[in-house]
Amino acid sequence: MTIASANPEILSELDRPNSYIGKTVPRPNLERLMQGRGLYVSDMELPRMGHLVFLRSPHAHARIADIDTVAAKQLPGVIAVVTGKELAPVITPWVGVLSHLKGLKSAAQHAIAIDRVCWQGEAVAAIVATSRAVAEDAAEIVRVEYEELEAVTDMRTALDPATPVIHPSLGDNLAFERNLDAGEVDTAFAGSDEVVEADFIFGRHTGVTLEPRSVLADWNAAEARLTIYQGTQAPHMVQNIAALHLGLGESQVRVVCKDVGGSFGIKVHIYADEMATYALSKLLRRPIKFVADRVESFNTDIHARDHRCWGRIGVGRDGIITAFEIDDLTGIGPYSMYPRTSAIEANQVVNLVGGPYVTRNYRARARVVFQNKNVMCQYRAVGHPIACSVTEGLVDLAAAKIGMDPVEIRRRNLIADNAYPCASPSGLRFELLSHHAAMNKLMTMMDYDALRAEQAELRARKVHRGIGIASFIEVTNPSAAFYGVGGARISSQDGVAVRLDAQGSVICQTSITEQGQGSESLTAQIVGSVLGVSMERVRIILGDTDNTPYGGGTWASRGAGIGGEAALQAAKILRRNILDVAAAILQSSPNELDLAGNAIVNASDGSPRMELRELARIAYFRPDTLPPGIQPELMATRHFVPREYPFAFTNGVQASWLEVDTDTGFVKLLRHWVVEDCGTMINPQLVDEQIRGGVVQGLGAALLEKCIYDERGQLTNANMADYLVPMSGEMPDIDVGHVVSPTSETELGAKGAGEAGTAGAAAAVANAVNDALRPFGAVITEIPLTPRVILTALGRI
């Protein structure tokens, strides 16, 4: 482990002259997007395109007795009205399970409900018309007769014998259960000086991407080929699933992903309405476009985080943590999502609780139940905010119980920086983490002691401020262990192809995707650095199953670590190939030459020998002048997947400084700090902005965001006025610091950074609120921490 910018004398592949790696450079796609020349699915118009609107169930649980589409079909401009029954012959149903999540069960889900709806918002009919407005008019006159069924909404009673079973064929409402018992938990608790427990409650929330889910499916009957334009994080996964359920070969499906307006994990799943869109294009033999509106986004984009988790911690008077135990319960809606399943979040909670700490004693149970609400699945930092809030909440409770400073108790329990490699009680393997270095850096950045003094001084004046600390670990760079081993055709490897064009520029095709995080930039930075080519001469192509290597895409903080490594290795091969040709032309040896400044240079002194464009001219147009036997190969491809470690863990620590108005329950965020360790940073600004964006999503969870359901399963705040996303006015300055421990599994050394911010932000805020409220003896373990929750805890209302 090194602190950033230490050891500058060791020159590696990443520190070449004029390297872009480690530098903040503007994203190559910025200009295009800023000038409004991005291309999103909703911008696209194809000849004969139909606009698709879904009629959605107003009930959480009901039998569909009858659907009358006659009047709607007669409305001018309506192309078709299609029910679930009518669509079923075109597309097969699916079951969202994976074999490595033992015991996970779910029921068959159809693209459009056939005889029963299981959540408010499930589609019951598709209306295709010449415009969205006409389709909405028609939707208003489709008559559906429902027989309402009892809705299962409370996860706490979902398993009670008196509660109806949503899918009778499954026997009960339990989708998944996992139990873990490591070390000597009972003995450890028995021997603890103090044992503290609490119930942690997490609000259901959702991703709220700026651009809603959008798909344009174009079945070309003449070619027997389907082109899907979709804002997705995983084009090859979409290709596989669409082909599978439409009865096509994968070569008959092309997925094109142009610009995407935010994903956060929302767009890494296969949704029923998207499947219906593919199927309708095939059925109606024309392009069909579906763009979710905001209300249906709230009702159908996956939700996440609806957990209730009991936890307890044992601690000695010396501050040593003896054991953790948790019992987690989560309700995932009526189906396990496809194809990644809805058991992953609970599974992650079990994996991650206690992760930063030394204790070997850990017991966990997680249960995942069905309910008649919208589906839940993986959203940015899957499981991490739950695990981190429970762990860090318990650590703070333990510290308060024994009267120890929250930083001190962490220092006594965090895994030592020289203890790696090691593994957690749940079996996670850590290659190299830096908890103590990160904590030390955080203390300096926030001037912890001065802040504590300020807090005490203000408290005397009845101003109630709090400091909250949260250490965390983050899963990044997943290998096949995540999905592949469970039977899902979701690739964990990525590929990059680079080629020199005839004027010495570079074209690079990568299987990772771009949704705003800077995949294009980091790929161009790596390729430009290795090839000594300036970034504006590197063109990145992504998001097209016809035109990129096969790969996983961008999710689970994997783009830089996996796709970046593939880019590095592909560029290295191309460099070798270029230097072979250069050596032949210059009558030199490849070892004596290098690439820099868009030219072939002497390796020894960097003096230019030949422009790269000149080499390309010779290679492509005058190969006759090359010595015999020299065939230039100016294109190279490499793939990469991590093999040694199932995941590259990262770590970090966050801190929140805030003020609670104890008369009103309002919380004012004053400052937020993050120190993180994602290994090699390719573009520090992109890392910082990933962290900040992630923190903001975590702050939203901490204070604002919640999907509010009533007891009948109605989502009551499905709009931007009532579902409160974090906005800039309430956001504090977020200071980001780094410790750099590269992974040695790759030459690049990059781990992921996409989810670290979200992982720990809510935990830091909750701990800070409780710190502020300590004089009042109130402890709150529920988020979002709304004024109502705080006033209630203070006994003021």
Partner: protein, 293 residues
Amino acid sequence: MKAAAFAYARATSVVNALELLGTHGDKAKVLSGGQSLMPAMNLRLTSPELIVDIGELAELRGIAVTGSIVRIGALTRHVDVLKSPEIAANAPLLTEAIAHVAHPAVRNRGTIGGNLAHADPASELPACMVALNATIVVRGQAGERRVAAEEFFKGIYATDLSAQELLVGVELPVASTNSSYFFHEFARRQGDYAIAGLAAQAIVEKDIFTKLRLVFFAVGDRPLLARAATKLINVSLTPEVLAAAMIVLGEELDPQDDHQASASMRRHLAKVLLARGASALLCRPDLNAGGRA
């Protein structure tokens, strides 16, 4: 989320607008800034047959001070009120309050007339009108009528306006030089509608309120001119007096429950606002006991 089809007419004069409204009645809707009407139409919460766009009627736009009256035309946009030196000088409460109305993009389009006609009980502006003792000027085909702000707001999205009438402007008395004001609201995010708010206008002489209008908003179906204020006038304010006023306030409020706050929480927050308002207007930090009576 597309509006149902509707007919559209761009009014060429106030008379023309009134003719259209006279003919179509409640099948028509006036369009001003569109910041409340268009979202409601897109959500199909309302589907008027005819939109009467009054956007071109320059005569309804602008701020003028004549003698002791400030007149604001109905089509005056929030941003123009916010930036107006006449308003800042003569009705500073409004300048402060309107900064809390939505976000710049909405303030650039939304109008004061549209806001008052819309009569959202959580809106800042109706409360300010009541606090400032404004007169709402309404025109129908039969002519003009003038309604005291206190009488104008009738309930949630309900006003004294009929479907055939146009709100053409408001008139505010110029604030007297010895008056002071207080505005505060509790909203979850900047620009959101308030959970509870207070717009107050006062005259303080020798640390005593001689006049005090306390108007609470977002705590009932319309702005509430609180009787509790009478408890604070012409007395030397002590915590006990404040406590008595809070009890009166608690009794006269009838707040609603919603996602953000229960009725009891709104009552509590209104009391906090009362304490903070009185404390700020009298420059007496000791009175700010946070709603604890």
